[in-house]
């Protein structure tokens, strides 16, 4: 089909409207030639009779009502995939930008993907050891899980993600897909360097839509990344870890496009379908029966004003299987990684730990640590009123427990890789500070066996 439509009806923000279009299909990819040498891509986002609304990925700068020639491609946006994508860098729409030339596609896949049939899913239960006590011990990462990091501007989420990549013990056949969504060049570069230092760069596929890149393209970036990850996971049986940062920028891009389309806004101006849109990304994590591979997601998002009830973290939390929340007050105290234990959670943890994968006492220990640390918060607020001196003896022990829990259990070096035994033993050692009858969740048998106190 080589009909070219010359000119436009109107242009608004990232959108252009074309009249007299015949035979176009919904979500079809179009090519737009602007002037002589400028070729752009776009996608049909609404059709009404012969009028098509097109989203231009590269933006509408320089477009006039008469200088464009638009051509339909006849198919939706597809990502060419091939095994030699490993180690390469692509832009937000999946075009190589590392100067190594085009890849030789084995297949072209619609980036929107299809929903995994719930009966085909294999329930994730293999844990991934990250070597980070707060994660391994208290919100364990499971292969095939989607576990976001909720952070704020200026906190050490990037370091944490990089450390997870460095230390994660996945199978030998693993790959990493890194999607940069509206982050600064420095951040993307930090990750690239860190992959390089770890020696995994040849297993990383990067999709970059940096802060200065077109907004519309940002909506495609995570979809390209996930399509690519699914391809490697389910065709080549690889364990894929997908890091997407920063989901807040993605949501803002979505909002910008929605408002250009004159859509009715929902909470904080985000479109009403933000939940479904997020779900169409996050739900692409998982494992499939009869397939070796898995897609594990580690999205990173920054909470505007550290507000966990902001629509982006809120809706994310409803879809993902838990969250790792970073806490600014811990960060101020110099705790790294500043994981807020109370707010963090891994929903798949209960089935991935225990005898046979980590250790039989893991679940009891983590429950007790959670409960005791929750009590520490009460004691601290009491101490802030009556002063530390006037606390009861038990409360003083809690105070001590809280302090050491933060400085010994949570805190670790950026290059420290703790074994699961070290993490659990450390937990028991700290619990031994508290009197026996405060440990309600620990049975006598378990107490005898594990809680040996300090040697």
């Amino acid at each position: 089909m080589n009909i070219e439509y010359i000119g436009l009806k109107n242009a608004n923000g990232p959108l252009i409207v074309l009249d007299g279009v015949r035979g176009a299909c919904y979500e079809e990819l179009v090519e737009i030639a602007v002037g002589e040498n400028d070729h752009r891509m776009g996608r049909i986002i609404s059709l009404s009779g012969e009028t098509a609304v097109i989203q231009v990925f590269e933006g509408t700068e320089g477009i006039s009502l008469s200088n464009t020639r638009t051509r339909l491609t006849g198919h939706p946006l597809e990502l060419p995939v091939a095994r030699d994508m490993l180690g390469r860098v692509f832009d937000g729409a999946g075009r190589p930008i590392d100067g190594l030339g085009d890849i030789c596609p084995e297949k072209k896949i619609d980036i929107n993907g299809l929903a995994i049939n719930p009966v085909s899913r294999d329930y994730p239960r293999d844990y991934i050891r990250t070597g980070i006590s707060s994660i391994d011990g208290l919100c364990t990462l499971i292969k095939g899980q989607k576990l976001p990091i909720f952070s704020g501007a200026g906190m050490s989420h990037n370091e944490l993600a990089a450390q997870i990549v460095r230390q994660a013990k996945m199978s030998g056949n693993f790959g990493i897909v890194f999607a940069a969504l509206g982050v600064k060049n420095d951040v993307a570069d930090y990750f690239r360097r860190s992959f390089e230092e770890t020696g995994v760069l040849s297993r990383v596929i990067m999709f970059q839509n940096l802060a200065g890149d077109p907004i519309v393209e940002r909506i495609l970036t995570p979809r390209c990344a996930l399509t690519c990850a699914e391809y490697f996971a389910f065709e080549y049986g690889m364990d894929m870890l997908v890091i997407m940062t920063d989901m807040t920028s993605y949501a803002e891009a979505l909002r910008e496009v929605a408002s250009a389309k004159n859509e009715i806004p929902g909470r904080k101006g985000y479109p009403g379908y933000l939940y479904s849109d997020f779900a169409s990304l996050y739900e692409r994590a998982g494992r499939i029966k009869g397939c070796e591979g898995s897609v594990t997601q580690l999205p990173i998002l920054t909470m505007p004003n550290d507000d966990v009830t902001h629509p982006v973290p809120d809706l994310t939390g409803y879809i993902t299987e838990g969250q790792i929340v970073l806490d600014r007050s811990l960060e101020m105290k110099g705790v790294y990684p500043p994981v807020s234990i109370q707010l963090s959670l891994s929903r798949l943890m209960k089935d991935g730990i225990g005898d046979g994968s980590t250790r039989a006492d893991h679940s009891t220990l983590s429950n007790q640590l959670y409960a005791s640390y929750a009590k520490v918060q009460d004691v601290r607020s009491l101490a802030s009123v009556i002063g530390e001196e006037d606390l009861s003896p038990t409360d003083k022990l809690y105070f001590e427990f809280g302090r050491r829990f933060e400085s010994e259990f949570l805190t670790q070096d950026r290059f420290e890789n703790r074994s699961i035994d070290a993490t659990l033993d450390l937990g028991w050692k700290l619990l031994s500070i508290l009197p026996r009858d405060e440990l309600e969740r620990v049975s006598d048998e378990m107490y005898e066996k594990y809680c040996r106190g300090e040697e």
């Binding site: 009404s48 389910f234 009403g272 809120d314 879809i319």
Partner: protein, 614 residues
């Protein structure tokens, strides 16, 4: 598509459809399709869209255009492609074989979809909910010459080992039986009965029915509620009971354990049939339900839990319009089994996702939004859904019930948002899940100050009769102690607990026992995951008894710390893991053990109070 055979009246409608004309697509915007000009399409009619034959439903008609919502992804659909009619509203297929299955929001069996399209769900597949080729050992209950009337059972078969499926003559059908198939192996589409109606026309009845999902199924009359849905969860059964035929909501922010509680209720409640609707939730969760239920043995029947369960999974990444339909499909399945005289419990997780689907579609239709962008008809849709719960006398004169338990996911954990607020108006049990409790890993995180049950009074008679005469009285004692603790904690937060009076310290200690030993329940513990009412009563009684006994000691100036040191309260906190569920004499043994411990302390104090205090 090929083998969707429909019996009786539906068949006639279908034959008539052959003459119906097709229309062409004019516009596409996400799941919303428009057809230009005036059409004869009916409101709520099911249509097939485009060459791919995607399933859709008519939602708006005017002289200028007709709007259709599509239940599948519309990528690749072109203007000009056909829209073909079915002449029927969106309907669910009802027949033996539904149990143990998992369906998507519009009732397509996911297992079958997997066979057809692999691990990912491809668009445009139309398969009936049940296997139309499977043979059932049906017992035909009528014979030639019998007079048919609505509500009569015309056939029965064992759907699973625990559920006997009864096929009931639908409303509006009457006449004389002219043919009755012999009992034996039949498929669901085979005509089992032929009859002549009053006008002399012949019709057929098979085991398969279709029913429009948005229309409640008829009943003889609604009955007042009379008994609780026993769930085995102490905080629910004892403090905030739900009636069979009642409606409850579980609101809670993410991570507060809504889904976990829903799973617990689905596993352990004493309903005959469970319909579990995963509406816009996680795919892995549905897989977990499927796996767990097939492995669990129902203690009452000795068979797999799956044999009494129907699952509907419309995960969050499946099309949004089907998510909106999934709730109705679920409740239609529930009503179908209720009509056979069963007690059905429907779990909907989560109704907020369903409300968001309404909002999303409403936004695409450019309707005027009300609160927070939700359409103005949100409350009426919610009430219509929750009103389908109830205890009824069925057309065949039996007693059946549908209980609805809807999870609500308030955005930002803010209970004042429209979905929670409107839901509260139409339910009578409110199990508010609390973030601070969940953070302290107190599960189920049901907050005892903000939750309520309006059924308590109506059910108290049942509790007095079936469990113990003083059950309601003990419950209010427990509630009083918790309320008193709540008041005292405000003081403790300011001055610490050391300065309280001994009596108040005792209240705090007992309240701790109630919280840790009674309200907290370990879903993964073998004994504690589900507790029979008799044991719940025994535990509650023992806690109150201990409290009263300790008060007599406090009156004698014996400090609470002494009793604490003896480990009396720790015994109460741990009894849930130690007392067996079936042998209640253990409760009595523990009671006498504790009372001798009290006697011991008292004796020491009577002899030498100064020494004992050391």
């Amino acid at each position: 598509m090929k083998d969707r055979q429909i019996s009786g009246a539906d068949d006639a409608a279908r034959r008539q459809n052959k003459g119906m004309k097709n229309y062409t697509i004019h516009g596409i915007n996400g799941p919303v399709i428009t057809v230009a000009g005036k059409t004869d399409l009916d409101m709520m009619e099911t249509v097939y869209i485009g060459n791919a034959r995607l399933i859709g439903e008519v939602i708006n008609i005017s002289t200028e255009k007709t709007t259709i919502q599509c239940y599948e992804n519309t990528t690749g659909v072109r203007p000009g492609e056909p829209v073909s009619r079915t002449g029927m509203p969106m309907s669910a297929t009802l027949a033996p074989g539904l149990l143990t299955g998992m369906y998507d929001g519009i009732g397509r069996p996911l297992k079958k979809l997997e066979e057809i399209s692999g691990h990912f769900i491809a668009p445009g597949i139309d398969v009936p909910a049940v296997d139309t080729e499977r043979l059932w050992d049906a017992e035909v209950k009528l014979s030639v010459g019998d007079t048919l009337a609505p509500g009569m059972i015309f056939a029965e078969c064992d759907e699973t080992q625990v559920v006997r499926h009864r096929c009931i003559v639908p409303e509006g059908v009457s006449g004389k039986v002219t043919f009755a198939a012999p009992s034996g192996a039949h498929t669901v589409v085979e005509p089992l009965i032929r009859y002549v109606d009053d006008e002399g026309e012949e019709h057929e009845l098979s085991m398969l029915r279709r029913w429009p999902i948005r229309k409640p199924r008829p009943v003889k009359k609604r009955l007042p509620i009379s008994e609780p849905l026993v769930t085995g969860q102490r905080v629910i059964d004892t403090l905030f009971p739900l009636a069979k035929g009642g409606a409850a909501a579980i609101p809670g922010g993410f991570g507060t354990g809504k889904t976990m509680l829903q799973h617990q209720l689905a596993k352990w409640s004493d309903a005959d049939i469970i319909v579990y609707v995963g509406c816009g939730e996680r795919g892995n969760e549905m897989t977990q339900v499927l796996e767990e239920f097939s492995g669990l043995i129902d203690p009452r029947t000795g068979r797999s839990m799956l044999e009494r369960t129907i699952m509907i999974a419309n995960t969050s990444n499946m099309p949004v319009a089907a998510r909106e339909a999934s709730i109705y499909t679920g409740v239609t399945f529930a009503e179908y089994y209720r009509d056979m005289g069963y007690n059905v419990a429907l779990m909907a997780d989560s109704t907020s996702r369903w409300a968001e689907a309404l909002r999303e579609i409403s936004g695409r239709l450019e309707e005027m939004p009300a609160e927070e962008g939700y359409p103005a008809y949100l409350p009426s849709r919610l009430s219509a859904f929750y009103e389908r719960a109830g205890q009824v006398e069925t057309l065949s004169g039996e007693k059946g019930s549908v209980s609805i338990i809807g999870a609500v996911s308030p955005q930002g954990n803010d209970f004042s948002e429209p979905v929670t607020q409107n839901t509260k108006r139409f339910i009578r049990v409110f199990w508010a899940l609390d973030k601070p409790l969940a953070y302290a890993r107190h599960y189920p995180a049901v907050n005892w100050t903000t939750s309520y049950s309006e059924y308590t009074l109506e059910l108290d008679e049942w509790f007095r009769r079936e469990v113990a005469p003083d059950f309601p009285a003990l419950r209010s004692r427990i509630q009083n102690i918790l309320a008193e603790e709540n008041r005292l904690m405000d003081i403790v937060k300011l001055i610490g607990s050391d300065l309280l009076a001994e009596e108040q310290k005792l209240t705090l200690e007992t309240a701790r026992c109630i919280r840790v030993g009674f309200l907290q329940q370990n879903a993964l513990h073998e004994l504690d995951c589900s507790v029979p009412l008799k044991k719940q009563y025994g535990m509650m009684k023992l806690i109150i008894k201990t409290h009263d006994r300790a008060r007599t000691l406090v009156a004698k100036a014996i400090p609470v710390s002494q009793m604490k040191k003896e480990g009396i309260f720790d015994l109460l906190c741990r009894m849930k893991f130690e007392l067996p569920n079936d042998n209640l004499t253990a409760v009595d043994e523990l009671t006498s053990r504790i009372s001798s411990m009290f006697a011991e302390i008292e004796k020491r104090y009577d002899i030498a109070p100064e020494e004992a205090a050391k």
